[in-house]
């Protein structure tokens, strides 16, 4: 069966690369699932967990913040400003960041964005356990 070549890169480093059966990501228009043979797509990503099912059957979860991904002839490139794999996330720190961001005022845009980021991180970290 055809497989997807997936790579995740952030502005600072390459995060993950491998073969996958499917990739599920969240775009401004809703969730999108990519299977081998998908038509070319270039879509923006929301702050949300990115789910990859590898050919070995394991699941890879990553928290991506601000970026996009492109699909072309079974190659999926995820390009995010920052991205973390589930196992790299420090749950305690993410929780602290979330509390801090939530206690700030609701009109404070950076704080709202920070809260969203922390939520995504937690969702990824918890979802992988």
């Amino acid at each position: 069966m055809a497989e997807l070549n997936v790579s995740i890169v952030s502005a600072e480093r390459a995060i993950w690369r491998g073969q996958a059966k499917s990739v599920v990501a969240k775009t401004p228009d809703g969730e999108i699932g990519i299977l081998p043979g998908h038509s070319p797509v270039l879509a923006l990503l929301l702050d949300a967990p990115l789910r990859i099912e590898t050919t070995e059957g394991t699941k890879v979860l990553a928290a991506v913040h601000g970026g996009f991904f492109s699909v072309d002839s079974d190659t999926v490139n995820v390009i995010a400003e920052t991205a973390e794999l589930a196992e790299e996330i420090d749950v305690v720190r993410a929780k602290a960041a979330l509390d801090r961001a939530r206690s700030a005022s609701a009109e404070d845009d950076p704080a709202v964005a920070a809260a969203k980021r922390a939520e995504t991180r937690l969702a990824v970290a918890v979802g992988s356990r």
Partner: protein, 302 residues
């Protein structure tokens, strides 16, 4: 021990202590150059993908030449110059060179009737501008030796905001980056690059002509124009990030060079001081011998 000899020994000890410090700084700087270079390389794939995606989106977007980040402004009378200097000194002429280049650029722009607002990275640059009473558009300090993407993002956001502010409210028309390009360990050069308005249009033509393959027929979500709107600011952030990383590598290289010559100088100084100390010791011994001989002679002849 004679007074002269003691003075020499004390100076040797002090120079040796200084040498240890400069040597340590040299070694630290060397290892950090490598780290900065690695981080520069690690950010390469991102830039490549981003450029590709922007090119693809630009070729589908309705009117790239009229995008606010690409279009040349009708009136050009305000510019921002982002100068990247070091937080700490002892790096030779590194900060001074960047500042000099920025001052030259400012003069050039002033001659063209453009007022310049400096945005300054690094404590050294901030101190320079503050001492001269120049109002800065932004000051960023505390990360020049190991800049992160978040730092670049903060600067990029500020620059973009200033750029997108309407002319009537004090917005700027163009943004220049002054940074130190890291060619290799021995060669670093201050460079000026215009960050905004973007010169993306040329790159679009280049990349499609280069490999002869048209871009895949991407389906854009949520639309080519919106994708482009979201990606172009990231390109600015990345330009700032690259400039920061390059400058950090150059800073470490400059510091390594400065500390290497300081260590060499300390060695020379120690060598010549040791010679002088030996001479002083020898003179002391000679004097003591002649005193003893003189004393014995006086006793014998008495």
């Amino acid at each position: 021990m004679g007074a002269q000899l003691r003075v020499f020994r004390r100076r040797i000890k002090s120079v040796q202590a200084t040498k240890k410090i400069t040597k340590a700084m040299e070694l630290i700087a060397s290892s950090r150059i490598v780290k900065a270079q690695q981080r520069l390389e690690a950010s390469g794939p991102y830039l490549q993908q981003l450029t590709q995606a922007i090119s693809a989106a630009a070729s589908h977007a309705s009117d790239i030449a009229n995008h606010p980040l690409v279009r040349d402004p009708e009136v050009r009378d305000r510019a921002a110059v982002l100068v990247i200097t070091a937080d700490r000194g002892l790096a030779g002429a590194y900060s001074a060179n960047a500042i000099r280049e920025a001052a030259g650029l400012t003069r050039l722009l002033n001659e063209q009737g453009v007022t310049v607002t400096p945005y300054v990275v690094g404590r050294k640059g901030v101190a320079w501008f503050r001492f001269r009473g120049v109002t800065m558009g932004g000051e960023y300090t505390g990360f020049t030796d190991q800049p992160t993407y978040a730092d670049a993002r903060r600067i990029g956001d500020d620059l973009l905001e200033a750029f997108l502010t309407p002319e009537s409210e004090g917005g700027i028309d163009e943004i220049h980056l002054v940074y130190t390009h890291f060619t290799n360990m021995a060669v670093q050069q201050v460079r000026v690059r215009r960050a905004l308005p973007l010169e993306v249009v040329d790159e679009v033509v280049d990349s499609s002509a280069g490999d002869g393959l048209p871009f895949p027929l991407y389906e854009f979500e949520p639309g080519a124009d919106l994708v482009l709107d979201a990606l172009l600011p990231r390109y600015i952030d990345h330009a700032v990030y690259t400039a920061l990383l390059m400058s950090a590598a150059s800073e470490h290289a400059a510091r390594r060079r400065a500390m290497k010559s300081a260590t060499d100088n300390a060695e020379d100084l120690i060598r010549s001081l040791t010679r002088q100390a030996n001479q002083a010791r020898q003179a002391e011994i000679t004097q003591e011998i002649s005193e003893i001989v003189g004393g014995a002679d006086a006793l014998a002849s008495a």
